[in-house]
Amino acid sequence: MTPFELAEPRTLSEALALLDPNDTSVRALGGGTALMLMMKPGFLKPKRLVSLGKIGDLSAFRLSPDGSLRIGAMTRLAALERSAEVAKAFPVIAHTLRTLSNRRVRNVATIGGHVAHADPHTDLPPVLIALDATIEIAGPAGQRKIPAEALATGYLETSLKSNELVTAIAIPPQGGKRSIYVKVTTRAADDWPALGIAISLDAQDRTVKTARIVVSAATEKPTRLASAEALLNGRQASDASIREAARAAAAEAAIVTDMQGSAAYKRHLLEVHLNRALGGLLGARRGA
C-alpha cells in the first residue's frame, strides 16, 4: 500500500466536510477490511482515509419496544451477532451472520461499510431488503432515507455520492413474518455466497399476504424477484404455485457467470433452493 493521510473526525459533520464529491481518492473508513482488500493489491490508492471510528453514537444499535431495530453504521457485525435480543427479534440476522465471512472479519467489519461496499457476494444486503430495511444517509444537504434495495446499483456501485455516508440502518418490526436466508456456496464451504436468497413472508398458515423475495450474489446487485412475489401475493400457496414462483424467479433473475459458477447452473440453483425455501416457510410438502 502507498502512504495516505488518516483523519479521525469526532462528529458526523466534520467527517462529511472531509469528503469531496469530486475526489474519489478520499474514502470513508469503517472497519477497513473491504477497503484494505482493494488497497493491498493496488486497485485503490486513496490519498486520504476518513475514519468514522471516533464518531459517537454511530456504533450503537437499539431494539425498540415496538420491535424495530435501528443499527448505527459503525456497529461491528460481531456485536449484532452476540446480541441475544437481536437474535430473538430477528433470528434471520443471527443466522446470516453465523456464516458471513469469518469471526475475525465480523469483529471488525461494520454494517455501514458492509452495505456501502456493494459487493454482490455478501450476505446481509439481501436480508436487509427482505426485511424492508431503510438506509439512513447523511450528506452536506442533510439527511435522507432510502429503501435498502435502492442502495446498490451495480457491482461495487451505490447510489451514494462520494460525500455522503450511511449513518444507520432501520429495520421495521417483523410482527409474525417468517423469514429465511439461504446461502449457497459452490466451492469450499467457507466462501462468499455464489447465490443468496432472502425471503420474508407475511403469511397466515399457507396464505400469503405479501412476499418479499430477494436474489443476491449471482446477480450484480441484490434484486427483488417481482414475478415470483406476484405469483404468491394474496393467495394460498400450494406445491404447484411454489414451483411456479421458483420457475418465474429463475427466468426473471439477471444471473451472471463468474468464478463461482455459470449463469445456467446458478439459475438452476435459484429455482431449486427457492422452491425448497418457500416450501419450508409455508409448510408445504417439498416438490418431488
Binding site: T186, R187, A188, D191, W192, S262, A263, Y265
Partner: protein, 762 residues
C-alpha cells in the same frame, strides 16, 4: 490408530514433536521471520503475458524513486553470471527473463529497497512492452504444437538419461519415458474385452502457508543463503555451480518450514537472492506473497489415455498407458516426475503386457514440479477410475476385481522388479474391512443418494539417492544429530532423534537436533518423495551405531571392562581428565538401484522400497443441485513399522485432506493466458467445514526389512487413492462418471443432467 506400539526404547513411541512448545508459543523459527542488519527487500516485476519477446523494458522511473536502492535486470545478472540458467533436470530457467518470457508472472526485473512498500511502488513504475507469441496451454496439443517454448533443449547432466536430448530443437517434449513389456497389441486382439478411457487432472498449487522466501548475505568467506528449502544441499551445489565457486564458499541454512509439500525444492528464489546479494553487496530478502507462489511452481496437469485388455472374468491381460504431463514453461523436476511415475503408471496390478509412453511437455503455463505424490495421484486417478469402470461393465464387485489382479509379494510389476515388503494385498483387505464392503450399503431413495468407492495406488521412491548424518556425542553423554533433512511439519526432527536416542539408549531430551546448515550438517539429496525416513533414517541409525561403536572402543582404550554399564561421562573423564572432548559418529546411506533400460523401461531393481496407499470414501449427493458431502474417508497405508505412530497417523490424514482439495475445490483457472485466481479468495483450499464427518487412518502391520527399525516413508501415501475413491463413490451413488478434476457441484450436476436426458441449457 491401529498399530501396536512398542514400549522399549524411543522408536515406536508416539512422542510429542520436539518443537511443540516453540510452535504453540509462536516462537518457532522460519525464514519468514528473518531480519538481517542492512537488509534490502526485493520486489519482483513480472510478465503480464504468457509468451512473448521482450521488446522494451524501462526501469528508469523506478530507479529514480526516492528510497529505491537499485533496480536489477538480466543484463546486470549476466555481468555476474554469464549463463544464469538453473534447474535440476534442464538448465533452462533464467534467474531473470532474458529476451523472452514464457509464462504469466515470470520474473523480469527486481526492485530493492530497505522499505518493502517503496520497493513495491518501484515495481509499479516499471514498464515493459512485448511482442506477443502464441500461447501453448494444453499438454496434448503442446506435444505436437509448432510453437516452441524453448528454442533449444539444455539438459543439466544430472540425469544420465537426458543426455541424448542435448541441443535438440523444434520440440516441446522435454522427456519421453517408455516401458515395453510383452506384446499389448497381440493381447488386446485376444482379450474378451477392451476398455479405453481418458482422464484429466488440473493444475493446482501447493499453497504452503509460509509463502516461499529466501535471503542471502555476502560474507567474508563467500555467501550465506537463508532459505525455506527442502533441499539445502542441492541449493549449495547449484549456487556454487552458477557462481563458479567451490561448494565450501556457499553456506545454506534452513530452520523450520511453514509447509513445503514439494514447492520449496531445488532452486526457487535462491539463485536470484544470491545474485542480488553479490551485485548489491548487501543482505537481501525476497518474501513472496501468497499470490506470487502461483506464478512460481505448481503441480502438473495431465491427460492419461488408458486402455486395458480384460478376460471375461475380469483378469487384466494387457494395458496401454499414454500420459502427457503439462510441465509449464520450465522443466524443474518435471522430467523426473514423468519418468519415475512411469514405473507404476499401470497400477498395482499383475499385468503381463504393458506399453507405456510418458511425455513431459513444455507449455506456456507457470512451471510444474514436485507436489506431494510426485505424479502418482494423477496416475491413480486414471487407473483406479478405469478399474472401477471395468468392474461395472463386467458386473464384478470393485473390490473383487482388485483382488483378482492385485500384485502379490514376489511377483514382478511392470518394470520387472519383484514386489518385496509391499503389503498391497493387506492394504486392500484392511480397506475393504473398514469400509464394511461385504455388508449392504444404503444408497438412499428420493433425491439424496449415497455411494461408496475405493482406490488404491503405489509409488516407487526416487533412486538412487544419498543421505549422510553425523552424531556428535558430548562429554556428558548428551549428543546432537547433524542432519540436513528439513522438518516442514512431517515430524522428521522428532523421528530422527528418536532413532538416535534408541541406538544410544538415551532419553529423548539428551538428543538435540542441529538444523540444516551446509557448513555443519552433511549432504542429503533432499527432503522429498517420502524418502527421508528410509534413507536419512538409515544414515542416522548408522551414524548413531558408529558413535556407539566408537564409545565402546574408547571405553576399552581407557581400560574399562567390556559390557560394563559405565556412564558415558566417565569414559570421557578417564580419557581427557575432565569433562571434555567429543565422539563423532557418521553414517552414509545409498540404496542399491538399477536404472531402467532406455528402450524398454525395464529393471529388476526399480526402487529401494514401495509406498502403498488406499482410500475408501462414502459420499452423499443432493441430485437436484450436484452438491456433495463426503461423509467418510478411510485411509490405509503400508509404511512399514512406524517410528512414531501418532505422526504417521497425522501424515495419513493430512495427505488425504490436501488431496481432497485437489479433488473437489482447487484449480488454477486461466483465461486468455491470464491466471484468474492466484489468491485464496478464489483458489479455495479445504477448511475445517470441508472435512468429512468421519476420517480414519490405519498403517497396516508390516515391516520394511531394510528400513530403519522396519520403517519406510508415509508422507504421500494417503494422497494416492482419494480422488478415484470419490469418483467411484459418485458412480456408485448416481451412475455418472466424472473423468476430470476437480469434481465441483456444477460439474456433477451437469453430468447428472446429461444422464437424465435434460442437459443444462447455457
Amino acid at each position: 490408530m491401529a498399530v501396536t506400539e512398542m514400549q522399549s526404547g524411543q522408536v515406536g513411541r508416539s512422542l510429542p514433536r520436539r518443537e511443540s512448545t516453540a510452535k504453540v508459543t509462536g516462537r518457532a523459527d522460519y525464514v519468514h521471520n528473518l531480519r538481517l542488519p542492512g537488509m534490502l527487500h526485493i520486489k519482483v516485476f513480472r510478465s503480464s503475458i504468457a509468451h512473448g519477446r521482450i521488446k522494451r523494458l524501462d526501469v528508469s522511473a523506478a530507479k529514480r524513486l526516492a528510497g529505491v536502492h537499485s533496480v536489477i535486470t538480466s543484463d546486470d545478472v549476466r555481468k555476474l553470471i554469464p549463463e544464469p540458467y538453473f534447474g535440476p533436470a534442464f538448465h533452462d530457467q533464467p534467474i531473470l527473463a532474458i529476451d523472452k518470457v514464457r509464462h504469466i508472472g515470470e520474473p523480469v526485473a527486481v526492485v530493492l529497497a530497505t522499505d518493502p512498500h517503496v520497493a513495491e511502488e518501484g515495481v509499479a513504475l516499471i514498464q515493459a512492452e512485448y511482442d506477443e507469441l502464441p500461447g501453448v496451454y494444453d499438454e496434448v496439443a503442446g506435444a505436437t504444437a509448432t510453437t516452441y517454448v524453448h528454442d533449444v533443449l539444455k539438459p543439466a547432466g544430472t540425469f544420465p538419461d537426458l543426455k541424448h536430448l542435448q541441443g535438440k530443437k523444434n520440440t516441446n517434449i522435454a522427456l519421453d519415458y517408455q516401458l515395453r513389456r510383452g506384446d499389448v497389441e497381440a493381447a488386446f486382439a485376444k482379450a474378451d474385452h477392451v476398455f479405453e478411457h481418458t482422464f484429466r487432472t488440473q493444475q493446482v498449487m501447493h499453497v504452503p502457508l509460509e509463502p516461499m522466501v529466501s535471503a542471502a548475505e555476502p560474507t567474508p568467506s563467500g555467501l550465506t543463503i537463508y532459505t525455506a528449502s527442502q533441499s539445502p544441499s542441492f541449493v549449495r551445489i547449484e549456487i556454487a555451480r552458477l557462481l563458479g565457486w567451490p561448494e565450501n564458499k556457499v553456506r545454506v541454512k534452513v530452520p523450520h518450514l511453514g509447509g513445503g509439500f514439494g514447492a520449496k525444492l531445488y532452486i526457487k528464489l535462491e539463485a536470484l537472492v544470491a545474485a542480488l546479494a553479490l551485485i548489491t553487496q548487501r543482505p537481501v530478502k525476497l518474501s513472496q506473497t501468497m499470490e506470487e507462489q502461483f506464478f512460481t511452481i505448481s503441480k502438473h496437469a495431465t491427460t492419461f489415455k488408458i486402455k486395458s485388455g480384460v478376460t471375461k472374468d475380469g483378469k487384466i491381460v494387457a494395458r496401454r498407458c499414454d500420459v502427457w504431463w503439462n510441465g509449464g514453461a520450465y522443466a524443474d523436476i518435471g522430467p523426473r516426475v514423468t519418468q519415475k511415475s512411469g514405473f507404476t503408471a499401470a497400477g498395482p496390478y499383475d499385468i503381463e503386457n504393458v506399453h507405456l509412453d510418458s511425455f513431459a511437455v513444455y507449455t506456456t503455463r507457470p512451471p510444474a514440479g514436485a507436489l506431494r505424490g510426485f505424479g502418482i495421484p494423477q496416475l491413480v486417478w486414471a487407473y483406479e477410475s478405469h478399474t472401477d469402470l471395468i468392474a461395472r461393465a463386467l458386473d464384478i464387485d470393485p473390490v473383487a476385481i482388485r483382488r483378482k489382479n492385485i500384485l502379490r509379494e514376489g511377483r514382478p510389476q511392470a518394470t520387472g522388479t519383484k514386489m518385496k515388503d509391499a503389503a498391497i494385498e493387506q492394504v486392500l483387505e484392511r480397506l475393504a474391512a473398514r469400509m464394511n464392503w461385504d455388508r449392504p450399503f444404503d444408497r438412499g431413495t428420493g433425491t439424496v443418494k449415497r455411494g461408496r468407492g475405493v482406490g488404491i495406488g503405489f509409488k516407487a521412491v526416487i533412486a538412487p539417492t544419498t543421505s549422510v548424518a553425523i552424531v556428535n556425542v558430548y562429554a556428558d553423554g548428551s549428543c546432537s544429530l547433524y542432519c540436513s533433512t528439513v522438518d516442514m511439519g512431517q515430524g522428521s526432527d522428532t523421528i530422527m532423534t528418536q532413532i538416535v536416542a534408541d541406538v544410544l539408549n538415551l532419553p529423548i531430551e539428551r538428543v538435540s537436533m542441529v538444523h540444516p546448515d551446509t557448513d555443519v550438517t552433511p549432504y542429503d539429496m533432499a527432503t522429498l518423495g517420502s524418502r527421508s525416513t528410509f534413507h536419512m533414517g538409515n544414515a542416522v541409525k548408522l551414524a548413531a551405531e558408529d558413535a556407539k561403536g566408537k564409545l565402546e572402543a574408547l571405553a576399552k582404550e581407557v581400560g574399562l571392562p567390556a559390557g560394563a554399564n559405565v556412564p558415558v561421562g566417565e569414559i570421557f573423564k578417564k580419557k581427557y581428565g575432565m569433562q571434555a572432548g567429543n565422539v563423532v559418529g557418521s553414517g552414509s546411506f545409498i540404496p542399491s538401484y538399477k536404472s531402467p533400460d532406455h528402450a524398454t523401461g525395464m529393471t529388476d531393481n526399480a526402487t529401494p522400497f514401495w509406498m502403498i496407499g488406499g482410500t475408501g470414501a462414502e459420499v452423499e449427493i443432493d441430485t437436484e443441485t450436484g452438491d456433495m458431502k463426503v461423509l467418510r474417508i478411510v485411509n490405509v497405508a503400508d509404511c512399514g513399522t512406524p517410528i512414531n505412530p501418532r505422526i504417521v497417523d497425522t501424515q495419513l490424514s493430512g495427505g488425504a485432506v490436501m488431496q481432497l482439495g485437489f479433488t473437489l475445490t482447487e484449480e488454477m483457472q486461466f483465461e486468455n493466458g491470464q491466471l484468474r485466481n492466484p489468491t485464496l479468495a478464489d483458489y479455495k483450499i479445504p477448511g475445517m467445514r470441508d472435512m468429512p464427518a468421519a476420517m480414519e487412518n490405519e498403517a497396516v502391520s508390516a515391516r520394511q526389512h531394510d528400513g530403519p527399525f522396519g520403517a519406510k516413508g508415509v508422507g504421500e501415501s494417503a494422497t494416492f487413492g482419494v480422488s478415484p475413491a470419490i469418483a467411484n463413490a459418485i458412480h456408485d451413488a448416481v451412475g455418472v462418471r466424472l473423468t476430470e478434476l476437480p469434481i465441483t457441484p456444477e460439474r456433477l450436476f451437469r453430468a447428472l443432467a446429461v444422464a437424465n436426458g435434460k442437459p443444462l441449457k447455457d
